[in-house]
């Protein structure tokens, strides 16, 4: 069944509808691929083999009965392990939730299933989505299918590696500061974070509530459009979800944006950026230009990246982002206390405070503890104004920069990551170095904007380089169409990683 594994979600859906391949065959091919390669890659925390097979067989029965089976009829999809499902476990790759079984299903997953998708299982991630390498998983580090000594990025590393290695055609990730786009870039796939509120967060285990957004990881832009159209929309269970009609992104993704004005933020094309990545991005910009796009220089002053004498990078956006997300995380993760569910210590001897402290100390990993402590600190009496409140002000300035930039262009073209995939263990002892992986991605979470990362080239070392396109609020269509334009005129998507199931 190599053919099915090489197909995109759209191709597979069409092939299933045409009877060229059955949903059951497609799902069994994916399950088999996971079986063969996941020992090496550790993309999945849990695989719902029986349930997925039954789901796929039902799709085939419905097809045989002449019923329509939805926009994703029979397409196997993996979901990140921070989205609740009323079946299996939802662990957030944390010891704290290792045995947690949610009694309900996240809206985005419900929508996938309603559109005929087959849920394969839960993908690995940095614990509670805190990290950029998937090394902070309490289960195992996921490996990059292009080079298994390297990280796949994170926190949606399992989803990106699974899609890149052809274990499945598509997956859902979540993006708080780059957690979809960065691993997509490092694994050579497409990752899309819609506008904040475009996709319901109901059932997504919260990390930074004002930043979190679910989005697809796919092998091409057309699939990103397809999945986005399925999962987007207002949800009465999420007050922050946007109540606006969802355009059929997939239907017009092939229509080029004409004229297309591409903004290049000058603050992000500096010496701080890896030379090879900068060159690839400039080549991509030229390609657009050759096909009629206009390149304009824009400025994002509050997302500027400074390089210190010792080469250390810093940015308002990164500082602001980490204050906001850690503060929110410290509150969101307060509920994990061992009282109702989750890990409970057996060392407390009946004292409630000790039970609570020990359960949290045992249940959370180092990075989670670091963020909870920092977040608690920034919200404490006497520090709130200096940190959290100031960060909210900077956040407004960052958002305003983007607004002004979009007065002059349709999309921004910029880096997705400061470097290609790095070696496992190379940044685990240096939290700041890890945090700087988000340097080109977290500004738009602060501004709530849609952003997409797509592969544009391979580095000399044979590793994927991603390009990020950013659109204005609710500009999903523009971003997807602009990305699809590039995809159809370049051959970057044709490269395959070294570890593939097909």
């Amino acid at each position: 069944m190599t053919d099915a594994l090489d197909m995109t979600a759209t191709q597979l859906r069409d092939a299933i509808a045409a009877g060229d391949v059955s949903a059951g065959e497609a799902t069994r091919a994916c399950l088999d691929a996971i079986e063969r390669t996941d020992g090496q890659l550790a993309c999945f925390n849990e695989v719902y083999a029986d349930r997925a097979t039954q789901q796929a067989d039902r799709i085939d029965q419905r097809l045989a009965a002449g019923e329509s089976v939805g926009a994703l009829g029979g397409v196997p999809v993996a979901v990140k392990d921070n989205m609740c499902t009323a079946y299996g476990r939802t662990t957030c790759a944390s010891r704290m939730l290792a045995e947690f079984r949610a009694p309900y299903t996240a809206t985005a997953v419900t929508k996938l299933e309603a559109a005929g998708a087959v849920i394969l299982g839960k993908t690995n991630m940095d614990e509670f989505a805190m990290g950029s390498s998937t090394e902070h998983s309490a289960v195992a580090p996921t490996r990059n299918p292009w080079d298994t000594s390297r990280v796949p990025g994170g926190s949606s590393g399992g989803s990106a590696a699974a899609v890149a290695s052809r274990q499945c055609p598509a997956a859902l990730g979540s993006d708080t500061g780059g957690s979809i786009r960065q691993p997509a870039a490092l694994c050579g796939v497409v990752g899309f974070k819609p506008t904040y509120g475009r996709v319901s967060r109901y059932g997504l285990v919260a990390f930074g509530s004002s930043l979190d957004q679910i989005g697809p990881v796919t092998r091409d832009v057309r699939d990103a459009a397809l999945l986005s159209a399925v999962i987007a929309g207002h949800d009465p269970h999420d007050s922050t979800s946007i109540d606006r009609p969802v355009p059929d992104y997939a239907a017009d993704v092939h229509t080029p944006v004409e004229p297309l004005r591409i903004g290049m933020p000058r603050e992000w094309f500096t010496d701080a950026l890896d030379g090879e990545i900068a060159a690839a991005l400039r080549r991509a910009a030229k390609t657009y230009e050759r096909h009629g796009a206009e390149l304009v220089h824009v400025s994002l002053p509050h997302s500027r990246i400074d390089v210190a004498d010792d080469g250390a990078l810093s940015s308002y956006a990164v500082s602001c982002y980490y204050i906001v997300c850690m503060a929110e995380a410290s509150s969101n993760l307060a509920r994990y206390d061992g009282v109702q569910y989750g890990h409970r210590t057996d060392q407390a001897g009946g004292d409630i405070v000790e039970m609570l402290c020990r359960s949290r100390a045992e249940g959370f990993g180092e990075e989670v503890k670091r963020r909870v402590m920092l977040g608690t600190y920034t919200l404490s009496a006497g520090y709130y104004d200096a940190y959290y409140n100031k960060a909210l002000k900077v956040r407004r300035l960052i958002a305003r920069d983007f607004q002004q930039a979009f007065e002059r262009c349709d999309v921004l073209l910029c880096p997705a990551t400061p470097s290609v995939a790095f070696e496992l263990g190379s940044k685990t002892d240096d939290p700041m170095a890890m945090y700087l992986q988000d340097i080109y991605t977290n500004s738009l979470n602060l501004a709530g904007l849609p952003g997409l990362s797509l592969p544009i080239a391979l580095s000399d070392s044979g590793l994927p380089i991603g390009m990020q396109l950013i659109g204005p609020a609710l500009g999903e269509q523009t971003v997807l169409r602009a990305a699809r334009m590039y995809e159809t005129i370049s051959d970057a998507a044709d490269h395959k990683p070294s570890v593939t199931a097909s």
Partner: protein, 495 residues
């Protein structure tokens, strides 16, 4: 200490009121007390991973109603904040509350206070703020080993009304608390049942002491979670005594400047307060705006719509009953404890009935039945039309007072017939046929020679025997005879 010591208690009160919405504050679970533990719960109020709150607009409207009735400023813009603290009955370990932008601010409540001399004066207590939040669950200690947590209450809308420290004694404090209970019930905002924990008190108390030309202030004591008026009364009386005694022992040391604020707990059995660790006071709640909820914008239209539902408030109605219906203050008080009873009176009077006659029925048989049923008089089920008709029949002498009470009781028991139909059906119409009356009197005299002998004698049995014969006649008439007529006729016949 010299005699010129003037001690003035300074008391403020936080009142927590559970709002009587059908569903909880941020989910659609039923807001219901008394069911099996953890039967009204869902991912949201359990605080499960991934669940999100969605605001219940009905709760906001009820809270606005109370805020507006308290003359609070209700702002154009308000928001939700998270208040962080760890407690087993708080599923998220933060409470969704309102920090710097409460739903209501700077209001007041006029409170009738009865002094030691029985004179009623009106005290105005300022309301600092009123904000909406979600209630926590309840720890249960009496079910098997260990502690259980019941989360049926978790997420119930809770209105916290914070007064300025305007009350200067236990009487004022209790009057304010009772007036607030009456108000929220009146508005239909809460049942405010103390046993069900729907209304809870947290007083803060200290003393202002003038002595020897100097002013002393004792440490402010806050007492949490009082569940009855009695506990509130005892707590404050005890604190006033205790603080006075402590101050007399050490006027310089026992001061607000040195000791600041303190938390004390109420000891129900000993009816006193006991010291609690200072640690409680050191709480840092780490408030910040809840990113899961959108701010609430309140338009003039919305505010006016909600304000328009408030109607006449208790004190105004009490005054009107005295002025327009000529009721005694005590009667007016009794009829304005809730809205329904006064509504009933107004409806009966509107049919043309005499107010006083209606009030006699309401505060007579009505009050007794309401007491038996533990409900308001206005909730007995008697309509204004029926009450008005009955009062008019009594006034016209068509039924006597006893029969009137019987008919009222029948109406309150759900009798679907009109008062006149009941009177006719049950033979309660006053009998004015003197021939019939005379026949009953003659029959009673003939059947009871001994009683007649006693009644006509001048022994000490005379009064009792006359009463017995009266009773016999009334019995024969099955209550329909007018007692004054019977008495007249019987006296005549026996003389």
């Amino acid at each position: 200490m010299s005699d010129d010591v003037i001690i003035t208690p300074i008391i403020g009160l936080e009142i927590h009121v559970e709002l009587a919405t059908a569903t909880k504050m941020f989910c659609r679970c039923a807001n219901r007390f008394g069911d099996e533990p953890n039967t009204h719960v869902c991912p949201v109020c359990l605080g499960l991973p991934g669940a999100l709150p969605v605001m219940n607009a009905a709760a906001v409207e009820l809270a606005m109603t109370v805020a507006l009735a308290l003359d609070c400023t209700v702002p154009d813009f308000t928001k939700w904040d998270r208040k962080g603290y760890y407690y087993p009955d708080l599923p998220k370990n933060y409470q969704i509350s309102q920090y710097d932008l409460p739903l209501g601010a700077r209001g007041r409540l006029a409170v009738p206070v009865t002094g030691d001399d029985g004179v009623v004066t009106t005290k105005t207590v300022r309301v600092k703020r009123a904000h909406l939040e979600e209630d926590a669950g309840k720890n249960i200690h009496d079910r098997g080993a260990g502690t259980g947590v019941d989360l049926n209450r978790a997420g119930v809308p809770l209105l916290e009304i914070v007064s300025e420290p305007d009350m200067n004694g236990v009487a004022e404090l209790l009057a304010y608390a009772r007036a607030m209970q009456r108000l929220v019930r009146w508005l239909g905002a809460s049942e405010a049942n103390m046993q069900m924990g729907q209304m809870r008190f947290e007083p803060n108390i200290n003393l202002n002491i003038e002595s020897g030309g100097r002013t002393y202030k004792t440490p402010i004591v806050e007492v949490k979670n009082l569940n009855s008026f009695r506990a509130l009364e005892r707590t404050c009386a005890f604190e006033i005594q205790r603080q006075t005694a402590e101050w007399r022992k050490d006027p310089e040391g026992f001061s607000l400047e040195t000791l600041g604020k303190q938390n004390r707990g109420y000891d129900d059995a000993g009816e006193k307060t006991v010291f609690q660790r200072e640690k409680e006071e050191a709480h840092d709640y780490r408030y910040f705006p809840d990113p899961d909820l959108v701010p609430v914008t309140i338009s003039d239209d919305w505010r006016e719509t909600v304000g328009g539902t408030i109607g006449e408030l208790p004190l105004a109605r009490r005054q009107r009953f005295c002025d327009a219906y000529g009721l005694a203050p005590a009667e007016a008080d009794a009829l304005t404890q809730d809205a329904a009873t006064g509504d009933l009176l107004d409806a009966a009077v509107a049919t043309g009935a005499e107010p006083k006659r209606c009030v006699n029925l309401l505060l007579g048989r009505g009050a007794a039945m309401a007491n038996e049923r533990d409900c308001a008089i206005g909730a007995l089920g008697v309509t204004g039309v029926a009450l008005g008709a009955l009062a008019q029949m009594i006034d016209a002498g068509e039924v006597n007072a006893t029969a009137g009470e019987k008919i009222f009781a029948a109406l309150a028991d759900g009798d679907a017939d009109s008062p006149r139909q009941i009177a006719e059906r049950d033979g309660l119409l006053a009998v004015r046929d003197s021939g019939q009356l005379a026949a009953w009197v003659d029959a009673a005299i003939a059947a009871n020679p001994q009683a007649v002998a006693d009644a006509t004698g001048d022994g000490k049995k005379q009064k009792k025997a006359f009463g017995f014969l009266m009773g016999q006649v009334m019995q024969k008439s099955r209550g329909a005879a007018q007692p004054s007529e019977v008495q007249k006729l019987l006296s005549e016949k026996l003389s």
